[in-house]
């Protein structure tokens, strides 16, 4: 085959991805006790040993196959040749290896050929794959998300025809919502669907920014687009949208005889980051030959169905933020231990004092500790969410009240995971560059790419502003506020149990104050809603999402620290776990004393109810 890339590109590729498997083990088996759910239905095939083996094999795969392609994808990007997208050198081979190894289907239900692991293993798999190569992992990630929707809402025929093929690498998948005039406002979509006599629909319209909208990776060269479109005569807004399966190439019921379905790649975007992921403008039905079928054969349920995928994808974006931030931190840490510059602050009067590694400078230590605490805190938040999923799965049909509690926490935490992780992920990557100094700004080190890749996370899958409105406008009050109350109640229980802790009493006092601040702000919002001050909410909703996330993370980190303190008693100081647990203690204290007080400060800001952004006339913003 003709290659579009320099010959020896792959030979020079190196992996720079790093992950913290010890922390993953800690979360699974020490903090969230996943072992309680293993060895019995629905996770009967799973035990601690095979989970650890799977995670370590995936890490090997991530660092040996995906990691080396990360910079190649960034520098060479995708190309459109003769109307088709060519992905970066090496991606096709990596796709084949990924599906041969089966890593994408760890957590997929056995019904669709997966291994049915707890969702938590799927989440950590995703961290490893995304961290090693964010852009690459979007292709299989989207195929999987789309397959989930068909698996959940599709008719029996659709499930049989599409799902497994989208999960085993034969076909790809996308989600097509965005249009030139319908971004955050999905309801403004103008793509149309016209019912044909045979029950299919003719699709016509343009979708933009479609990730993986075309590629050369899938084994059978087909991609299943899930397209939001309005059936002729349907009402305006989101309620009139339906969701269609629109394959790139039409198939018969055996998945054979693939032939063109009039889906065209108009162009691909040139971007700041995730350059290995093709972001496509797609045109459907230019020649009136594009056929789609309605998912589950129900009309006007498009948004509800798409939300299934969006919730999955929102958690996925949170994982993306965590994944690159974690590797950015670990790379910065390695660099800080190595790079010598300046002398110790203790020797400030002595110009001949020896040069020290920059990790000895307090400023750098503070940055590193903040990055560490945030990365581990975000990972804890995400694993908390996924263990709620696993407990809900395990309890469904047996103990509906408990299952409902877990489901409620998943709903509540999803916008936090998406928005906090993506905002902070970007900040952590930027901080990593700062730790490196000039070197971090150069292509020679991975952190500048991480930073560019990470920026999109706060934008797609619903911008973080939209996430914060979802949190304040919908999630806080869901189930009559019961989910929020349960969340605050869980934290209060921890505070009450540990407020006199010999080591953490001070830190837990900060947690208590942050808890009060969040609780108080929720009450304030309730008052605003009741008094009709709706226009105040969007001015502070993003701040509130941050407050609530940091409260949750402060709690989870302190819970870790309490555990770590107990465990330290049984570990000799030469044991590597000694350093690990000690790190947990310092990270939690740092977060409690340096971040949690800002939660209280933000509550104060919100309570001032300043509305100047709403009052300033447009013209007064400037020229």
């Amino acid at each position: 085959m003709h290659s579009y890339y320099p010959e020896d590109l792959l030979a020079h590729a190196v992996n720079r991805y790093k992950a913290d498997l010890r922390d993953m083990r800690f979360l699974m088996f020490e903090q969230f006790n996943l072992q309680d759910l293993l060895g019995k239905a629905p996770f009967g095939d799973w035990d601690q040993e095979n989970i650890e083996m799977v995670i370590s094999e995936i890490y090997k795969f991530a660092t040996s196959v995906l990691g080396p392609l990360n910079q190649i994808g960034d520098e060479h990007g995708c190309k459109v040749v003769d109307g088709s997208v060519i992905t970066p050198e090496g991606f096709k081979d990596a796709w084949a290896k990924l599906y041969e190894a089966g890593w994408r289907t760890v957590a997929v239900s056995p019904e669709f050929g997966g291994m049915g692991s707890p969702a938590t293993i799927g989440i950590l798999t995703d961290e490893l794959l995304s961290g090693a190569n964010t852009a690459f992992n979007m292709y299989p990630g989207l195929a999987m998300g789309a397959a989930e929707v068909v698996g959940h809402f599709g008719s029996d025929r659709q499930k049989k025809l599409f799902v497994q093929r989208m999960l085993d690498g034969r076909w790809g998948g996308t989600m097509c919502l965005t249009e030139p005039h319908a971004g955050s406002d999905v309801g403004a979509s103008t793509t149309t669907a016209k019912k044909n006599e045979d029950g299919t629909y003719s699709i016509k319209g343009t979708k933009i920014y479609i990730s993986g909208g075309d590629h050369d990776l899938s084994f059978d060269d087909n991609i299943v687009h899930l397209v939001l479109a309005r059936i002729d005569g349907a009402v305006a807004g989101t309620k009139g949208l339906s969701l269609f399966i629109v394959p790139k190439r039409r198939v018969d019921d055996d998945g054979k005889n693939l032939r063109d379905n009039d889906v065209r790649v108009v162009s691909i975007e040139h971007k700041m980051g995730i350059n290995g992921s093709a972001t496509c403008v797609l045109s459907f039905g230019e020649d009136d030959e594009c056929l789609g079928e309605l998912i589950g054969e129900v009309e006007h349920h498009g948004m509800r169905q798409m939300f299934k995928m969006m919730n999955f994808a929102r958690i996925g974006v949170g994982i993306q933020g965590l994944a690159v931030a974690s590797s950015a931190y670990l790379n910065a840490l390695e660099y800080a231990r190595d790079r010598k510059q300046g002398s110790s602050v203790k020797d400030w009067k002595d110009p001949s004092a020896p040069r020290v590694p920059i990790i000895e400078h307090p400023n750098i230590r503070k940055d590193l500790l903040e990055m560490k605490a945030k990365v581990e805190g975000i990972r804890a938040l995400i694993v908390k969410l996924s263990t709620h999923q696993d407990r809900e799965t395990a309890l469904a049909g047996k103990d509906d009240a408990s299952a409902a509690y877990h489901k409620g926490q998943i709903n509540l935490l999803t916008p936090l995971v998406k928005a906090y992780s993506s905002d902070e992920g970007f900040e952590i990557c930027a901080k990593a560059i700062q730790v490196y100094g000039g070197a971090g700004y150069l292509r020679d080190h991975p952190v500048e790419q991480y930073c560019r890749d990470a920026k999109i996370f706060s934008i797609y899958e619903g911008t973080n502003a939209i996430q914060s409105l979802d949190l304040v406008g919908r999630k806080l009050g869901q189930a009559g506020g019961a989910n929020t109350q349960a969340f605050l109640g869980d934290i209060q229980k921890f505070i009450s149990a540990n407020k006199d802790h010999e080591l953490f009493a001070d830190a837990i006092k900060q947690l208590q104050k942050a808890h009060e601040a969040v609780g108080g702000t929720v009450m304030l919002f309730l008052g605003w809603f009741q008094s009709g001050f709706m226009d105040r909410i969007p001015l502070v909703s993003e701040r509130f999402l941050k407050m609530m996330s940091e409260l949750a993370i402060g709690w989870l980190l302190l819970e870790q620290a309490v555990l770590a303190k107990e465990k330290l008693a049984d570990v000799s100081d030469t044991h590597p776990d000694h350093a690990f647990y000690t790190g947990k203690i310092h990270g939690a204290i740092y977060f409690a004393k340096n971040i949690l007080p800002t939660v209280v400060g933000t509550a104060k800001v919100i309570s001032l109810a300043d509305t100047s952004p709403n009052e300033i006339p447009d013209a007064a913003f400037g020229i």
Partner: protein, 295 residues
């Protein structure tokens, strides 16, 4: 006379190689900085270490897998028995199971205290198991990443009275044995060996066409890689249910009498991390040759 048994059976059973692959778990070489020496200096402490399969054993396992499969059709065609020797702990079991996950058919763990083992005891154990199992090949790593003694294979062959070929870089199955290329400092040596035999390999065995077993098509190329294969998810899940036997030294009639005594371990001196800048090539040569004495 006319035989009722269909012919192919016979042919297949001839091709079924049976290989014993001893596997040692060692402190993960990627985390070697975590290795610590006990206070009295006579022991390397294993406390809290991340265990990994000895990389040299990983190569021999890879070679053994290539000898006993049709890679093009992804079918196993022979039998690999993994042998672990050491304590029955998590690190050991994980290491052995990961070998099973890569494709080995069954496993044996000989329970023993790390301290009671040296190359001589290990070789005795392996010879005993080889006598019991009658494999075609005992395929060892040429050395271990921790002890670096480099003799277990040789002593095992001696006990068994079997031929030994060390440092195999290319193996071709030939009539009743193998044709093996060995890479030496002086060039490449080609030798023929009959089974049963003892083999060790070098890392070149990971080369895409290092093994020709007459079953995987000769033009099949394994992927270009510095690593042995990793286990796919499905096989990791199956590893748990593969036959596995745990036996004691007593049951083999072996006394763990070590012949080597370790008197002193020292960690390598810490790297100073000091950077020296030079102005010219001459100065660089002087520094490397005269001061550091490395060239």
């Amino acid at each position: 006379m006319f035989d009722a048994e269909p012919f192919p059976e016979e042919e297949e059973s001839e091709a079924r190689l049976k290989i014993l692959v001893p596997i040692k778990r060692v402190a993960d070489p990627e985390n070697a900085n975590k290795v610590k020496v006990s206070a009295d200096g006579t022991q390397v402490t294993s406390e809290g270490l991340e265990w990994a399969i000895n990389p040299f054993d990983e190569w021999s396992l890879e070679a053994a897998l290539r000898l006993t499969e049709n890679r093009a059709e992804k079918k196993r065609t022979g039998e690999i028995i993994i042998v672990g020797i050491g304590p029955n702990d998590d690190g050991m079991m994980r290491t052995l199971r990961s070998a099973l996950a890569k494709g080995a058919e069954r496993g044996i763990l000989v329970e023993a205290d790390d301290a009671s083992l040296d190359s001589s005891v290990v070789a005795k154990i392996l010879a005993k198991i080889a006598e019991k199992e009658s494999p075609d090949v005992v395929f060892l790593g040429k050395q271990t990443a921790d002890g670096d003694s480099n003799v277990a294979g040789t002593i095992t062959a001696e006990h068994l009275g079997w031929p030994l070929v060390n440092y195999a870089t290319q193996i071709t199955v030939a009539d009743g044995g193998f044709t093996i290329k060995r890479e030496l400092d002086t060039g490449v040596q080609t030798v023929s060996v009959k089974t049963p035999c003892v083999l060790t390999s070098s890392d070149r065995i990971l080369h895409p066409s290092s093994v020709k077993n007459g079953i995987t098509p000769d033009d099949f190329a394994y992927p270009e890689s510095d690593h042995a294969r990793t286990a796919p998810l499905r096989d990791i899940m199956k590893a748990k249910s593969k036959p596995f036997e745990t036996i004691t030294l007593d049951s083999l009639g072996i006394e763990a009498e070590t012949t080597v005594e370790y008197t002193q371990f020292e960690l390598p001196p810490a790297r100073s991390g000091e950077t020296t800048y030079v102005e010219s090539v001459d100065e660089l040569v002087q520094k490397l040759h005269g001061d550091a004495k490395v060239i």
